[in-house]
């Protein structure tokens, strides 16, 4: 009996002393974490995609709290959550965020199998990075999409897929969060994170070819040849610049007048998500004069309609 009592007392004493030790140790060496970090983390999407530029959502939350202490949340954006999430974050931190326009990934290549025939067959590992090491790739275009789907693999939101017909990646506008993972994965820097535009409408040059016009023209039917016609058309807004034989439309300056689309002799400029043209426009624009045989573009102009886009008679 005595023995049992002794054991209980001894163990109890050890337990008590240890508990006290642990209690004081935990008080003394406690790591103080700003509770706001946890709160901010809780409203973030927890996709840990790294699209914000920080290592995961916790890293971003820490950065937000730090920035809030400094007085501004400027430059911090969770591309996945977008504006609503940033507002929640700002609420927690007692700050305000400026409205930011939603963005989307845009694949700047329209070198479908038809526009840009495959000249050789790549037999190595099916990865764009590997194919890029061979130089030109399967087609003659050293700037165009390689079609092995490194971007598809990089996407955590199932928002980009290769279209088996065109062999080009297509972005699902609903799912894309503009995290930029695909843009980083592309060894040819074809994918651009661009302003989504009002109602999702935007004007884009779907080409990345920086070769001189004659070479670019030869390798792909839908390439930008750097002729500069679009730049002239846009002299009012100056939204289009020509650099390295490649036109680029500044989404912030673009007024969506669609004149550049008509001016482009190669059909490299695309108006995305615009409603079909009104019937009266059918007779008026240049295509009607360019050639009677060419059916006038009445279909909804979207990414795939390059065939309908009349090609200027100047083409060699």
């Amino acid at each position: 009996m005595n023995l049992i009592l002794l054991a209980i007392i001894a163990l109890g004493a050890i337990g008590l002393i240890s508990a006290l030790l642990l209690y004081f140790a935990s008080r003394k060496f406690a790591v103080h974490e700003d509770e706001r970090i946890g709160q901010v983390s809780a409203v973030l999407p927890q996709a840990n995609c790294g699209g914000c530029g920080f290592p995961g959502c916790a890293g971003f939350a820490g950065a937000c709290v730090k920035a809030a202490d400094k007085g501004s949340l400027e430059g911090l954006l969770c591309p996945v959550g977008g504006q609503p999430v940033m507002e929640q974050v700002a609420d927690i931190l007692g700050m305000k965020v400026e409205a930011s326009a939603p963005k989307i990934a845009v694949v700047r290549c329209n070198g479908s199998c038809e526009n840009r025939p495959r000249l050789v067959q790549f037999d190595g590992a099916q990865s764009c990075k590997v194919q890029q090491m061979t130089g030109m790739g399967e087609t003659g275009c050293p700037y165009g999409c390689l079609g092995c789907g490194d971007c598809v693999e990089a996407c955590q939101f199932d928002a980009i897929h290769i279209n088996p017909e065109t062999m080009l990646p297509e972005v699902d506008e609903e799912k894309c969060t503009a995290c930029g993972a695909c843009a980083k994965a592309c060894p040819r820097q074809i994918i651009e994170i661009r302003l989504k535009g009002p109602k999702g409408r935007r004007m884009v040059v779907l080409c990345n070819n920086k070769d001189k016009g004659a070479i670019a023209n030869k390798v792909c039917k839908a390439s930008c040849i750097g002729c500069g016609k679009c730049v002239k058309t846009c002299d009012k807004f100056e939204a289009i610049t020509l650099k390295n034989n490649l036109a680029y439309i500044d989404a912030e300056k673009c007024k969506m007048c669609r004149k550049c689309e008509e001016a482009c002799p190669k059909g490299a400029i695309h108006a995305i998500n615009f409603p079909p043209r009104k019937p009266k426009a059918e007779a008026a624009p240049a295509p009607a004069q360019a050639g009677e045989k060419v059916p006038v573009a009445t279909a909804t102009p979207n990414v795939q309609n390059t065939q309908n886009t009349p090609i200027n008679s100047k083409e060699q």
Partner: protein, 447 residues
């Protein structure tokens, strides 16, 4: 018999063209001279459209110390100084010459007479290196590293011997083999010039034992050249790699990068380079032509052609009986390290050692299957690396891990991929990893 110690594989030899003597290829109608024919800075074009050039006229001057000048191999008129597709699959700066006649610069000695070192006692080390540099000689084995750079060891490093790389371990290729049989003395004089340039008295010629006739001939001729020794080597790929050859011949190992082969005291030169050095120094002939093996199982006449640089590959194939119908792939170089060509209209360059035409069946890679952890690739790697690991790391973008596991030591010989029973594209991924890690290291050192 000597060979290197770790790794290596035994690909089928297929030296189909070993018996066909070197013959001169016809002049091209139009020759294209890429300014990127060597490792290092590209050459800068010094001619413009409309200029008349002769054989041996300077077209592009060296763009730096690690660079080499480019000379015209034909006479005619410059028709274009613009980008053109080259064998690397990229459009890069090149000079195009429309060929008219065959007029040579007067300074070039075109006689076939052998000039020995004893005939030109006035040549000193500096003059030899200067002449080699001016002639645009680069490593002819395929790596195309400018030769004069190798002959100027960095301060603190001392050369002890010169090793001539006559291994030609790539299957199919026979250009070096034929060169040894037909120009043995010139190669030996070239070796003597290299030995004099770097101030050593010992020279080795490493030849694999699948070329007994070359070993016998070179051993016989080498008797007249003091300090030169022919070393027969056991057949094993990649014995022609610089590091493997040094290990095989003198038994020393090159430490991991950034150490250079010169740290072992050896300077390695290809037989083709020795021949080019002989021509540059003794005949004043810049590097304007080379021997190229055009071969393949379906090729009518597998041959060794002495062709002018800038000749389009399609013409060389025509001279060997045309492109076979069952062609699946044309490779610039040998089957192990060569690169498949995107177009046959690209011109041959200083590094074009062979043109291999594979039929459709040979050309196709077998489908990749999962890794079965057999570690055959580890056993085959001549650099003692772990290819399965490096490949996997590269696939998963683990560049730190790749760097820790010495991906930069990889010589891209392809032994791992050759030996893999699951046909995994190991080298494809390792190459990406190597290039990325090299880029990271470079940008780190710039900071």
């Amino acid at each position: 018999m000597k060979t290197f110690k770790i790794g290596g594989v035994h690909p089928e030899e297929n030296k189909l063209s070993a018996g066909s003597p070197i013959r001169e290829a016809q002049l091209p109608k139009q020759a294209v001279f890429s300014m990127f024919q060597h490792i290092g800075a590209p050459a800068n074009p010094v001619v413009k459209k409309g200029d008349v050039v002769k054989v041996g006229t300077l077209l592009g001057e060296a763009g730096g110390f690690v660079s080499a000048p480019i000379y015209s191999s034909v006479s005619g008129k410059v028709s274009k100084v613009d980008v053109a597709l080259d064998a690397s699959g990229l459009r890069r700066m090149a000079v195009t010459v429309d060929v008219e006649g065959d007029e040579w610069e007067e300074t070039i000695d075109r006689s076939k007479d052998l000039v020995r070192l004893s005939d030109r006692p006035e040549l000193d080390a500096k003059t030899i290196v200067e002449k080699i540099k001016a002639a645009g000689v680069v490593g002819m084995g395929g790596a195309t590293f400018p030769t004069h750079v190798k002959l100027c060891p960095p301060p603190g490093k001392v050369a002890e011997c010169v090793i001539v790389n006559a291994v030609e371990c790539e299957p199919y290729l026979t250009a070096d083999h034929r060169l040894m049989l037909e120009h043995s003395e010139e190669i030996l004089v070239g070796l003597q010039l290299v030995m004099k340039a770097v101030g050593v008295t010992k020279g080795y010629i490493g030849i694999e034992n699948n070329k007994p006739d070359a070993i016998a001939l070179m051993t016989e001729k080498a008797k007249q050249y003091p300090g030169v020794e022919v070393v027969p080597l056991q057949m094993k790929y990649p014995q022609g790699g610089e590091k493997q050859l040094i290990d095989a011949v003198i038994g020393r190992q090159v430490p991991a990068p950034p150490a250079l082969p010169i740290d072992t005291g050896a300077i390695v030169q290809n037989v083709g380079t020795c021949f080019a050095i002989y021509e540059a120094v003794m005949k004043n002939k810049p590097l304007i032509d080379r021997i190229i093996t055009v071969t393949g199982k379906s090729v009518k006449q597998p041959s060794n052609l002495l062709a002018r640089l800038g000749t389009p590959f399609s013409q060389l194939i025509d001279e060997c009986g045309g492109l076979p119908e069952d062609t699946g792939k044309v490779i610039g170089g040998g089957p192990m390290m060569g690169k498949a060509l995107l177009s046959l209209d690209v011109p041959m360059t200083k590094g074009s050692s062979g043109l291999l035409i594979m039929n459709d069946k040979e050309a196709r890679r077998a489908e990749a299957e999962p890794c079965i952890r057999c570690a055959k690739c580890v056993g085959a790697c001549p650099m003692g690396l772990e290819p399965y690991l490096l490949s996997r790391m590269s696939e998963q973008f683990d560049w730190e891990g790749s760097e820790q596991n010495d991906v930069t030591s990889c010589i891209e010989c392809g032994s791992c991929q050759f030996t893999c029973p699951s046909h995994r594209p190991l080298l494809d991924h390792i190459r990406v990893g190597k290039a990325t890690v090299m880029g990271i290291i470079r940008s780190r050192s710039q900071k």
